[in-house]
Amino acid sequence: MKNDKYDLIVVGTGFASSFFLQKYLAKNKGNKKVLVLERGYFYSHVEKLKVRRGESLPDIKYEQKWDSLVENFNPKKDWHFTTGYGGSSNCWWGCTPRFMPSDFKMNSLFGVAQDWPISYDDIEPYYDEAEEIMQISGPDDTPFPKNGKYPLPPHRFSKVDEILNKKYGNKYISQPTARASRATANRNACMASSTCGTCPVDAKFSIENSGMMVYQNPQVEIVYGAQVYKLEMVNDVARKVCYMKDEKEYTAEGEVIALGANPFFNTNILLNSGDKNQFTGKGFGEQLGIQVLIYLDNLSNAGGSTWVNANGYMLYDGQHRKDYAACLIEVNNAPFIRFEENKWLNIASFRLVFEDLPDDKNYITTSANKLKPEVHYDGRSDYAEKAFKNAKIELPKILSCLPVERLKYLDPFPNEGHIIGGTRMSANAETGVVDKYLVHHKYRNVFVLGAGAFTTYSAANPSLTLSALSLFAADKMF
């Protein structure tokens, strides 16, 4: 390390940290010392592509399997994430719908779970800002309020999309996405290869191709291979960050600490630091995703231009959320094909994504290994399961404008690639872990960023919202 003490120490380099730093640096030009501790390494997109094309390269050692980094106590449940520069921007699939305003008011509107201490209107400007940074492709008419236009035009509809959009209007839209609909300064246009984790043509936003340059800023020093496991607290103020690197112990001193690791590691750090908040680590989870194949008579689904071509909101909002979950439909362009003559592309694929509710039976805790959190996931709630039963009843009616031959439901996916909750946001320490600016209720110089802070899950994908929250927090607090 170059300095004895830093103004800000950031843990992790994924969405949460990068967007926080983006705003922080914009408001503190040239006068702050920032240390970034990243547990992984820089593993470039170019190198990943070579490996995926069959080359054996030394950097492949940076692709650590998620289940080697945590103790997962439920073998039927996966929790995919990547570590290293850019965090989960290296494995996400680029879906960026906003949350709906109702997602922030689950208790007052529907009598379930808790309200967030912020409203949709509070972060609307930061949604705009995050969408500009990510160069999101999206339509003009959306089911959620939106002041500005998306930076890039929407992706193209297939014929199936056109029919459903005509019937449902802004409840069936081209998906807002970080998979570029046309080439940008740093990315190519999407080729709909349906393989987005490592995009074959680098069309998807990642921290590496973002052009944000926060880690190249001369105020910022980055240390790779730094596995943070604890904060040293003095009178409820975090003074030092403790980490392991190359099997040696280090500490770094900072005025303000921002934890931007994923909810597993943020929780592990807090609990190892002595955090006694009753909700720390509690109620984490993610959505339930189920694929349904829609066999069509005399209608091709060709012509889309990206992996998830559209989002359907027909089962999302409404008073049913008192009883069962919102469902966001992802209209999928993956190459499911048919083999009957002349029907090869007469098939559509919907992924039904159901929100879930935080449940304390699902929790993260520490283990005997200070670097490795335990992950205990008992299962999804009846709230989500009941919504799936309802969707099976409603879907044929929703699709009545299409020449449907039959529907085929696939088994639920073992994961949606999201890790949400564990350090939930709340109005006070009696109901959650962090305040509306993502500051820990007890440790007032510690930010706990990311989807762990979500009070409730929403059915929408989390990355855009957690990025907007990071911008919001840094803007309000510095």
Partner: protein, 142 residues
């Protein structure tokens, strides 16, 4: 790292193009029944026989010697399984068509279907037949 581990690591598998692992055995028996399953279900197409055999070889490459897998493919064929009733058969057929020039040729059934190499989004120039790049939305097949 093995290819499937890779794909699993890289994100959520959603109809994604990962060759199913560990089912297969490179015995002539398995290959014979796998090829028969493809020929039976795509009997309306002109398939390049040599290309089909090359595909089968590539598809089953790196498999282990597994007696149960041999039995399985034989049962699939004689049990009248097809792409609707068996995920294994569906995968076999799906990767075959995606690995050929069938979609590049706009699904022209008059042209002989030729194998181009095992389907791989990182190597195939156009990986998805649902993309507008291959077929516009207003063009109907039937």
């Amino acid at each position: 790292m093995e290819r499937r581990s890779f794909l699993l690591l890289s994100g959520v598998l959603v109809g994604m193009v990962a060759i199913p692992p560990s089912l297969y055995f490179v015995s002539p028996g398995i290959k014979k029944y796998a090829a028969k399953l493809i020929e039976k279900e795509l009997s309306y197409l002109k398939l390049d026989k040599e290309g089909l055999n090359n595909y089968i070889n590539d598809y089953f490459k790196n498999g282990s010697n597994n007696v149960m897998a041999n039995v399985k493919w034989k049962v699939l064929y004689y049990g009248r399984s097809d792409s609707n009733s068996s995920n294994n058969v569906n995968d076999l057929l799906r990767y075959y068509l995606l690995s050929t020039d069938f979609f590049l040729n706009q699904m022209n059934v008059e042209k002989t279907v030729k194998y181009l190499g095992i389907f791989d989004p990182y190597k195939s120039p156009i990986a998805n037949p649902f993309s507008y790049i291959l077929l516009p939305a207003n063009q109907q097949i039937t």
